[in-house]
Symmetry: C2
């Protein structure tokens, strides 16, 4: 990471770049529609977009991975079953309500799959459902059923951008990443770490490819791409009940090289993971923690996660404050918890390339502090501005101005394993997004 | 918990209550002094208070427990050694700088112990050191040495209040709790979850008793009191490098009943833990999560910790938003991670006594939402007010107006073990406290 080092001066410039990345692989069509409804649980109107991804013909080559949360959403419960089906012909996604622990949730989701299937000439078992948004609320199935033919009518085969826009909730902007292998491509979209006015972070990722990789190889490739991309990223440590990553092949283009496919898939997944972090709620800085010298990759990933999930370090980074004591605290907390008695005297820490800790002690001075502040300031996406009502902060941008990160190096001096973890800071904008009432 | 249900209308009223709790047990004296200095690492002046706790004669009966952080502070490294000494005669505490990973930190701390020992006619090994504050900075030893005779001159045997005030950093108010056993007492003070303009959360707790409990029994009692008090509490999940809980007996009063001593110690520790949470940085609500039906107490405590450490649920509680989907997410995240495949269909969840989830689905309606909002609002300590500069939030109170909690019940339906965990919400005041620059 990163595979790109893009900068954008405006939302229009970002949108133009997204459009340039959005060509659908052969064999896929995508369509969306949007409508207003009144949730059962509250009395205020809300809006929902449904997104339909259709294959020109059902495919045997599909893969999906789901949240490990012990309260999985109804679409996740159904999706796990769908992995045993011979073919998949469509994906049906809604935002606004995640259909988690709602009374009759699985039945509702299956009813929607059946309706989609009827429109497309499939069976319900050939439809993979996804829902993201408020947890606990019921899906407005009576309003969703008439939206299905409208989404079908909107199907087109040129651009994935409507899908990238359709699946978002509080995301500031859509996310698309692509890679080519031979004559084919992998194109992915992601819905990132967002809430609905506000609600639970629910990551959805759809990866579409025309490259013909058989089901088993496709699933192995997806499983191999996840640990270093989506499983090495955190915005707020809250594992969603609905996280889903699905990879579908239309089997149109011969795959020349499985290793090249894996590499391309890894890259698309890593780029989307970083996009999700950069577009995380209230994010001012993306952190990239490169851990080395660990006894195992899991150990390294755990240390990186502990750093990016430390509320105190997140706040310090937000304030461009090189409070590196909090970095040491976060490392020591995790290592002390999982491996008591570990000797960290050979650890070496860097921030923005500057050595800050070595040989058992900090290497700090007013001059070093100034360099660290400059690095943090240079990686800032935007600064907070006082809100009109004095309380409710909102990001002043709706596009990613650059792809720079706060670069943290942690050599534990314990072994040879490594991991790279992506995370974010913690800001007033995150609190405003998530402490305000839902509707 | 709780042992008390106090309310305070003003800082003066709270201070009067603290004073009523502050009588020192027989055999102890306490004194403090404060001075200004310039830290080596930055160029702005700072203030430090040193606190001296002296026993009238060295005691064999002392106990201490320390952070599990793998980067322990120099005083923690020394404190662990002191546990093997035959007697302890004094405790020497400074705030502002925590002496963690600072070059020559252990030598500096030992030099201060030797100076304290010389003033009091002890050996350095009879002095237990503690430091709290900025991590990484060096102690200003040349300015601290002349403060020692001043702290000695301030020693008095009537009130622990100067000590409770002397050890704080960004705490809004001092914390004192006491309990009586027979003719003796246990009095504890705590420095809570605070930063220094701002810095790392460093919990310090000193428990003084005149009850004569032998060393081994005293240490066993302290170890038994910790899991359900300080180890069942979290404000921001950042395990400090300097956490210390020390229990000293002056051995003046016969202990009539060890079980009664344990019970009193448990109560003082739990009350102080809840005080620390209530005075946590930017805290608007204290949460009390009562977990039952768990396979083990550790399992139950882990579920409770996952709930109080969920940034999304913390934000929802801050906004008086009964976003119970986030509660389910936090439980499911933890259970899914530590026990994949666990069936949570028999789980029952309550908020403010109201059943919100049972028999595998939520029990929500507009009427239930209103009840939940009323419970959250009733447990609020204060509401945010727009800050003068538009960005920097500060709590409008400097005392605890009440002791009400957001009451969360989680019956996992898996076993018979229980745990109660105390936590806090997450607010703009926390971000302001910790994202601003340190000096």
């Amino acid at each position: 990471m990163p595979s790109t080092d893009l900068t954008f001066a405006s939302r229009d410039a970002h949108h133009a770049w997204l459009a340039s990345q959005a060509a659908l692989p052969a064999g896929f069509r995508i369509g969306t529609t949007r409508f207003e409804f009144i949730p059962f649980e509250v009395h205020k109107p809300a809006k929902m977009t449904v997104t339909l991804i259709a294959l020109d013909k059902p495919t045997t080559a599909f893969a999906a991975m789901f949240t490990k949360n012990a309260f999985p959403g109804a679409p996740v419960i159904i999706g796990r079953k769908r992995l045993n089906e011979p073919t998949i012909g469509a994906v049906f996604v809604n935002n606004k309500i995640s259909n988690v622990c709602a009374p009759g949730g699985v039945e509702t989701s299956e009813r929607l799959c059946a309706a989609v299937a009827k429109e497309l000439g499939l069976t319900a078992e050939q439809v993979l459902p996804s829902s993201t948004g408020v947890i606990g609320w019921k899906l407005p199935v009576e309003q969703m059923l008439p939206a299905i033919p409208l989404a079908k009518a909107a199907l087109q085969s040129t651009s994935i951008l409507p899908g990238a826009e359709g699946i978002v909730t509080t995301d500031l902007y859509p996310k698309i990443r692509r890679a080519s292998v031979g004559n084919g491509s992998i194109v992915g979209i992601a819905k990132g770490a967002g809430m609905i006015e506000p609600n639970l972070a629910t990551m959805l990722v759809y990866l579409l490819t025309d490259l013909d990789v058989p089901r088993d190889a496709l699933r192995a490739a997806l499983a191999a791409a996840i640990p270093d991309s989506f499983n090495s990223m955190s915005i707020d440590s809250d594992t969603s009940t609905s996280d889903t990553v699905a990879l579908l092949s239309s089997q149109r283009v011969p795959c020349p090289d499985l290793a090249a496919f894996q590499q391309a898939l890894n890259q698309v997944c890593r780029d989307l993971a970083e996009d999700i972090a950069r577009n995380g709620e209230g994010v001012h800085h993306v952190m990239r923690v490169q851990v080395s010298g660990a006894p195992s990759a899991d150990f390294a990933r755990g240390v990186g996660k502990s750093v990016v999930n430390s509320p105190l370090f997140q706040c310090a980074v937000c304030g461009n404050d090189p409070n590196v004591g909090r970095l040491v605290c976060a490392i020591g907390k995790h290592v002390g918890a999982i491996a008591p008695g570990t000797d960290l005297s050979r650890a070496k820490l860097t921030l923005g390339g500057q050595v800050i800790y070595q040989d058992g002690a900090f290497r700090l001075s007013p001059a070093v502090e100034e360099q660290l502040i400059a690095h943090l300031t240079g990686a800032e996406l935007y600064a907070s501005t006082p809100p009109p009502d004095g309380l409710t902060f909102a990001p002043p941008i709706t596009y990613p101005p650059h792809e720079r990160c706060v670069e943290i190096g942690i050599d534990l001096g314990l072994g040879s394993a490594t991991a790279t973890v992506i995370g974010t800071d913690r800001s007033h904008e995150y609190i405003s997004e998530n402490a305000d009432y839902r509707s």
